[in-house]
Subunit: 260 residues, 3 copies
Amino acid sequence: MDYETIAVEKSDIGIIITINRPQQRNSINNKLLEEINRVLDQVEEDERCRLVVLAGQPGTFCTGMDFEEFSSLKSQQGTAPLKTAPNPYMATLKRFTLIPRVVIAVVDGQVMAGGVGLAAASDLVIATPRSQFCLSEALWGLLPAMVTPFLVRRVGFQAAYRMTLTTAPVHSREALDMKLVDEISESPFDSVHRLWLRLSKLSVPTLRNLKEYFRKMWLINEAMENIAITEIERLSSDPRVIENISNYVKYGKFPWEGLA
Amino acid sequence: MDYETIAVEKSDIGIIITINRPQQRNSINNKLLEEINRVLDQVEEDERCRLVVLAGQPGTFCTGMDFEEFSSLKSQQGTAPLKTAPNPYMATLKRFTLIPRVVIAVVDGQVMAGGVGLAAASDLVIATPRSQFCLSEALWGLLPAMVTPFLVRRVGFQAAYRMTLTTAPVHSREALDMKLVDEISESPFDSVHRLWLRLSKLSVPTLRNLKEYFRKMWLINEAMENIAITEIERLSSDPRVIENISNYVKYGKFPWEGLA
Amino acid sequence: MDYETIAVEKSDIGIIITINRPQQRNSINNKLLEEINRVLDQVEEDERCRLVVLAGQPGTFCTGMDFEEFSSLKSQQGTAPLKTAPNPYMATLKRFTLIPRVVIAVVDGQVMAGGVGLAAASDLVIATPRSQFCLSEALWGLLPAMVTPFLVRRVGFQAAYRMTLTTAPVHSREALDMKLVDEISESPFDSVHRLWLRLSKLSVPTLRNLKEYFRKMWLINEAMENIAITEIERLSSDPRVIENISNYVKYGKFPWEGLA
């Protein structure tokens, strides 16, 4: 099978999905989400495949939404009405938390905006020492609305709130302290192999029970997911936000530079 | 404008409110809450003012409820019926979390009881190394009922519960580890300036969206706020509690000394 | 009074319950839960007794459910219908969190599965440096369903989830960082005495208020407790789980060895 945005590698212990858009700094577009989900469909058909590793490029795990695609879509849409659920990004994060497989994010380097959500919704995150995580959305007048439920679940309220408010990068050591990262490793794939020695003892039905059960033990439910989707649709239809992003795509100009 | 309980300083980046009751160890009375809210009213009228810093005296940020005022009010009230919502202290904490501005608590030294709530409800807390936080309420037969929702939000259940149960002081380093403090600094106002370099890029509408959205991503809602207000009214009308505090105000005697 | 499964020692500051099933590696059977609750009944009749310490054997705090008793009960029951609430283990954890006394777990050595719940539901946990905590349930096709609400409350979602998923032991230092342990001490009973200097100043009515109030400030309610009980009944009636445990009890064979 052929993919445009990812590389897929089957190994004896599972499958590795590598985000493969280096020219676009591994940003997220609809094609990427569709292709990740196509792989997950295949995984779900094979009970022997119990491990999904999500990786990025050296130095760049994922930098969030593809601004060029966003800007181009918005200029086509004009005043189109808001999309409603389902949202493919939110659906993917939710799927990570419910698919009866182990999902491990292997992070090396930059993780921004929506990329933070891909990591936060993974079962486990292994990061290299040079990794850093940044929620830059508020700088554009956006919010990491769909990331927030999964980030709060992982790191608690204040750490998620602080990252969103300050938009400052969080380095691997601090990310480990706040449990955004589960392990720091110079060779994260070796860590995956070591973890798999224990994880491989869990059956697919047990993984299904575990993930469904933990969902009932926390705040995230469909109502909260819909609040998240509604908020991101609202914000990304705000003319100021569209203009902020368009000015960046066209002229490389940041919103606060426009204030001068 | 003149204030009895605070000093207010406008700078080019925002406003600094300094709690100014050194004779009363910077305790909280109704006048203080009223004056803080009067400043916040002014802030909300000025879109250019996007930063509110709350500071205390050197060595004493805030020591919680003013026991003398409490005791005097209670002796006047006699068997007056319970007050109902709104409660001015609870309303102030809630306002910190919703006002579309950045609220930073600059803490140096002692923070006790209700003072912990003022910090916990702030967006960010910067503390000097000598700072310490203590929830002493249970010693008097009270609870930090209105502080709890905001403290649990910031530090998680167990850290908030342990502080309340043990009534033991938490020093700056431990407070940082539990995220009650966001940064330790020998010169916290320099830290505010440094943080502002990024924070200043956020617009008022974005701050409003951010704060309203994060409220929906956590446990605190009006029902929980009313439980808090009802509980503090119930406890502070308990004759044993009133006597405990009155004995301290009049004779400097602690409740457990009365047991001897 | 005579006990089969525990030793009980009254001191001037409270009562020490020592789990006393060294031959069964201090596992939990129904008799143990019944006897712990009998002691708590006595404690509740004596307002002067305000401290309950739960301890284990040197090197083994508690290793969770007694597999031999479970296996024997299951082979007797045959296809008996599921038990419904109340569940004595869940009721005991809940009682720890609501009894108007201070409950301190003194942990030395191994804490597994249901043993983690006894610690997590205690007000405070003091552990020796050699202690370690492990949720091994998923290896058997079970989940720590009744432990989870109390563990999430104590350590947050991700740390509880990671322990359940990886089934890997957490050592005392990491347990302290994640707040599963409140203090590490070479001589935990000395720590209890030191803590008691402050804790002893809290009255029984204050402890009752405190515990009832904090329950309202968090996610656990009767609905969640019933979800937990229903899930554990469902899983422990699963023929695969029963067979996994029976094979271990009879032949010392682990589930994944059966896959070969």
